[in-house]
Symmetry: C2
Subunit: 240 residues, 2 copies
């Protein structure tokens, strides 16, 4: 509907025309999980200002595009993934946050499985995974976005099964525990953790074992989305 790019499109009503327009961006805080710690996808900024510095992956929102679609577009361009867990974090709207020109940014965080994304594509875009506990300096307010996202993740993980978005389809209980330890930044008791997780009856035990981290091997499980949905609809209070 707002197609013309050469000539500036015109607002339909006088009232709007006197008002200021500005750039609207979206920045993606993309998390992964591996080897016991959370990872963040960053890349080297390719445009002035601040060219060459570490940055989150973002884009300007186009006139004909939803804000959430813009973030999904960016994520797909870089990782090849669609149908990824992604939620709005908050808006970064301080007037002078971007030295280039007035630009607000809507932070959106995504959780992806490190065994599923397109590694070549990521490389082509110069994107790099960093351990969240060992991040380089990031441009603008991007570090704040990451910190906010980690806080939000901590809050959300408690009452919603978003942790599973970060693990492979098949995972072991020790892996799951290690993930929650990374999110909550504290050690958990394995007996209590297992008890609580199992009590919800949303894990399907498989006949396979994962022997990559022990001789005995740990049983693999899958998250049972259907049962979870049913529970939630009936008012169940899910908590990990």
């Amino acid at each position: 509907m707002y197609k013309e790019k050469e000539q500036e499109p015109v607002a339909l009503y006088d009232f709007y025309q006197q008002k200021d327009k500005m750039y609207v961006a979206t920045d993606c805080i993309i998390f992964g999980f591996d080897s016991g710690s959370l990872k963040l996808l960053t890349f080297k900024r390719r445009v002035e200002p601040l060219k060459g510095e570490w940055s989150l992956i973002g884009s300007f929102v186009k006139l004909e595009e939803d804000v959430s679609s813009a973030a999904k577009r960016v994520l797909e361009e870089i990782t090849g993934l669609t149908n990824v867990f992604m939620e709005e974090l908050k808006t970064y709207g301080v007037a002078d946050r971007d030295p280039g020109y007035r630009c607000i940014s809507i932070g959106q965080y995504a959780l992806i499985r490190l065994n599923e994304y397109d590694k070549e594509l990521v490389e082509q875009h110069g994107a790099v995974w960093h351990d969240v506990n060992d991040l380089p300096e990031l441009v603008l307010d991007h570090r704040q976005m990451v910190d906010d996202a980690l806080e939000e993740l901590k809050r959300k993980a408690r009452y919603r099964p978003i942790g599973f978005e970060l693990l492979p389809e098949k995972f072991t209980i020790p892996q799951l525990q290690s993930l929650y330890e990374a999110i909550y930044q504290k050690e958990l008791d394995s007996r209590n953790f297992r008890k609580k997780v199992m009590s919800h009856n949303v894990l399907i035990k498989l006949d396979e074992k994962d022997k990559s981290s022990s001789k005995r091997g740990a049983y693999l499980y899958k998250f049972d989305h259907d049962t979870y949905e049913k529970l939630i609809r009936s008012g169940y209070n899910f908590e990990i």
Copy 2:
């Protein structure tokens, strides 16, 4: 910094210039509490499109203005209040949400005390309080914003003492309970409620009674911000 209104300001870098600019608005979901129920401040829209219909109170964000400042400005213009509790809700960024022109809006909700705002000013602006359980139809996605804000209020009220922002400085325990019942939309047991609230030691009992709703009268209390801050800083888990 971005002052010129007649001539469109120019972005400093080529990269920006090819991108789309759009209007950024903020809409305020302003809640009050009285007579056992939550109220929402709405007004009749004065500009096309949708002139004359019920709407939230909002404004376009100016180039030199923070998004949060814009919301505070609107709130002060209409109620005369500053230093009001206000937080970002979320961004409404669907491409065709505003028929006038591409415009995203950042919803921000505010909690105010109905005994403190400037009633004349509110009237001058044609603003009207509605019971949230009996709202008229609102323009655009404003009804969605209200519903989202009510959800958020329910979540936030549990772990943060934001309820007190809606009551007069001095309030009774039954008033406080009635407020929480309105927020949670469910009745609470008065013995358990009082026990829990008092257990935090953040209420200061006054020597006055409020007799407006009973012959016996109920003691008035004040919220003890200082003690609350100390508790929180020391990691206390506040919950109502």
